[in-house]
Symmetry: C2
Subunit: 282 residues, 2 copies
């Protein structure tokens, strides 16, 4: 048996190039506005990276950077203006927000048709009902693209997801169920985790712990999707999976880095373009 | 080992009596409007039953019965008027609708704060995000009430749901995940169904086939929740579960009838009262 390493970087670049080709043909370019509050270092790096990738494909990107003391009402007013601004196609609020601001209220204030992250309850609900949301959360849709790119069968197969966050586990559960997988969601409270993961045809880990998953967790021929981005004791970036230990047991495995991560940013650009298209069809 | 038969009728009546006591104290009574289109016999029976139960607890119930030729725009206008009518607290559209009407458009037209069935994407999304929807679908919330009434442990336990409908399986998946269950959703495309159901601590069947589940599907001490309402060859009402065959293997089991069914109607009354309370707190 051979193990295929899923090349997320390759497919992300392929998608990004396709987006660039499409955007090049547009007279008016799609525009993403990113709201950043405060001076969290990691957030600034994420936002800079998003902006850089937008510019590479010709998507206009504006970062609105606010002092951490901005109050909720002011922020809601800004979102309202952005909702009404026909030049703005997509709005992203970088999390986390300062504690005095309710993140749910902020996300709900974004017009669903400009909700590029797919986090608005309306879009989450449409996904959960197997209808057509304006956007689907970037990491789940990136994972689905990778599974499809490698012709990994989902229909009827048992997918076990570890982690039930609102940005990965929960939308992924809906998305894979909509694609006819049998879906199990495990999490911190799950009893007998190892017994359950051993029944998985596809195991998706979004836990956030280095080397959390090893060969004892899986059956032979499993497909492993590693969503974790952690740092080990040597400050090296690792996923949730003990890659070397599990490698021989897998049919497919995503590496970290260059697995799921690059797909997430590609999906953000894709979602921005999709929202532009939707708004310009109306 | 003894098997406990879960008495849904008893708990439904208990809840209904509590609702009646609360409604009796209200000067202005909660009001539910039911929209019925066409002359489907089963729909008329359901609607009559809902109206009867409302009246028993003092909830005002109005049925708006339209000819099956009503067009979508007219129906949307009526819903708009009901949304604006402050005397109306809850709106229910009896499904199915005639084929020329898009049911998703109709459900989305209902104001989420009057969506008594919890079917609006906004409410479904809030549930899927473990936030607080205005309403949760009646059958799933009825099932949760029964599990809690019998102190059946959900936290960390493996719940297997068979069926992924928008009115039972999907919202139930979210609701149980929010209550810390490990949740698996199986359906018509699931391979190895029996292997998966044999790992369930709680098995919930919403398939719609008499005697679909028997003792070969479950491990000892399982809790069985039977959501099916079917008719067997003798026209007798049955669930999905072969009750006699499975009985000795279960710790708990819901009968059909008098199991989940009565809880669904109790939850409809509860949701109506909840929406009334929400609207009158504003």
């Amino acid at each position: 048996m051979t193990t295929t390493i899923i090349d997320g970087l390759y497919y992300a670049n392929k998608i990004i190039n396709e987006i660039k080709t499409k955007v090049d043909k547009l007279k008016i370019k799609p525009k993403l506005v990113v709201i950043l509050v405060g001076n969290d270092n990691a957030s600034q790096i994420y936002v800079n990276n998003k902006q850089k990738r937008c510019l590479e494909v010709g998507i206009m990107s504006e970062v609105l950077h606010f002092d951490e003391n901005i109050n909720q009402t002011e922020l809601l007013d800004i979102i309202k203006q952005l909702n009404e601004d026909t030049e703005v196609n997509a709005i992203l609020v970088q999390m986390p927000l300062p504690k005095h601001i309710n993140p749910d209220k902020i996300v709900e204030a974004i017009s669903p048709v400009k909700d590029v992250d797919g986090f608005h309850p309306y879009n989450v609900g449409k996904l959960a009902l197997n209808m057509t949301p304006y956007s689907i959360a970037c990491t789940p849709s990136g994972i689905l693209k990778l599974l499809n790119a490698y012709n990994i069968k989902i229909n009827g197969k048992h997918v076990v997801i570890i982690g039930r966050s609102n940005i990965v586990g929960r939308p992924l559960m809906s998305l894979l169920l909509n694609n006819n997988a049998t879906v199990t969601v495990c999490h911190s409270k799950t009893e007998n985790l190892k017994e359950i993961t051993n029944t998985a045809d596809i195991l998706i880990s979004a836990v956030g712990k280095s080397n959390f998953i090893n060969s004892a967790f899986v059956k032979h021929n499993v497909c492993i999707i590693d969503v974790g981005i952690n740092r080990d004791k040597n400050n090296k970036i690792t996923g949730d999976v003990d890659f070397n230990d599990i490698f021989d047991k897998c049919s497919f495995i995503t590496p970290v880095p260059k697995g799921v991560g690059p797909m997430t940013i590609a999906m953000l650009l894709q979602n921005t373009l999709n929202l532009y298209d939707i708004q310009n069809k109306k």
